[in-house]
């Protein structure tokens, strides 16, 4: 509806009519499955996640440590050079307190998501993830965090091999 048009022509259906099968309808679910390749750098990244480690690529041109790893440097336009392990601790770069879940459904307990700059990689290099063991009032930009890993048996080479990032505890490095 707009300021000039208070109501569009046509018949609006209520959810009851729509989902309660009150109007005739055709339902279908296409079998839309596909697989896409992770590629050279991401394959190694996922493999190392399964091993409980984070890996990056170094570029000898700009001297940066690229994370997540990539096979080509977007600054220097040249292939990157070496693999290097980085730490599983970092700093919250930015975050959101989300009252929508992955399917955009409204939820009452918010989930915390954001970007972590990972220690050992170049500044501002990081990954997006969930945050846990903290409340929406405690989370802040600059907070020091550490990956909470799943057990080795549960890990399967996915970013979700890390459950979430939790606050770094006293004495942890």
């Amino acid at each position: 509806m707009t300021a000039r048009i208070p109501k569009f022509p046509g018949k609006e259906l209520s959810s009851e009519e729509f989902y309660g099968n009150k109007v005739t309808q055709v339902r279908s679910r296409p079998d839309a499955r596909y697989a896409f390749s992770a590629g050279e750098a991401m394959s190694r990244f996922l493999e190392e996640l399964q091993n409980g480690r984070l890996i990056a690529r170094t570029c000898h041109g700009c001297k940066r440590i690229l994370f997540p790893p990539r096979m080509f440097c977007e600054e220097c336009f040249r292939p990157t050079d070496d693999w290097t392990y980085i730490r599983d601790t970092g700093t919250i770069e930015t975050y959101s307190v989300s009252y929508l879940d992955q399917d955009a459904k409204r939820i009452t307990e918010p989930i915390l998501v954001g970007v972590v700059s990972v220690d050992g990689a170049s500044p501002k290099m990081g990954m997006m993830h969930y945050f846990g063991e903290m409340t929406k009032d405690q989370i802040h930009i600059g907070m020091r965090v550490k990956a909470a890993w799943k057990s080795p048996e549960e890990r399967k080479g996915s970013v979700l091999d890390i459950r979430y990032f939790r606050p770094l505890r006293e004495g942890e490095a």
Partner: protein, 161 residues
Amino acid sequence: MTFLERTTDVRRLRHWDVDMSLDYIYTSGIAGERFFRALRDEGRILGVRCPACKVNYLPPRMFCEGCFTELTDSFDVSPEGKVVSFTVAHVDRRSHPLPQPEVYAFVTFRGIDRGGLIHRLFVPPDRAKIGMAVRVRLRPKEQRTGTILDIEGFEPSASQD
């Protein structure tokens, strides 16, 4: 980095599996609702008449294509029709081979100027002919759900029309 430093063991390459959950609910609309309710509840096939152009449509639609008059004047269509065109399918919708080829026909009905119905034609492929007289075969009432599948298909009819 040389070629040999790259991953040469394909088992070490990973991929993501994705299953897109796309659910469609496609409602029949106002004219379609009348058509499918009459079909489901009473086994009738409805056409609609444009009073201005004197054109009869099947299936019914909301507005006349020629003059945009709103169409409300529906009438019963005889279940006896004529094959205008047909095709023989050897694979199903997912491209799997069918055990027996199936015939699909476009059928028009007496009194209808525009439109018709496309459905299964229950004859062996070599017996399908353009111009053959056919009859609508409905599903039993308790199996009808208000979709085009409430019509099972067409079968040959003795009618000479």
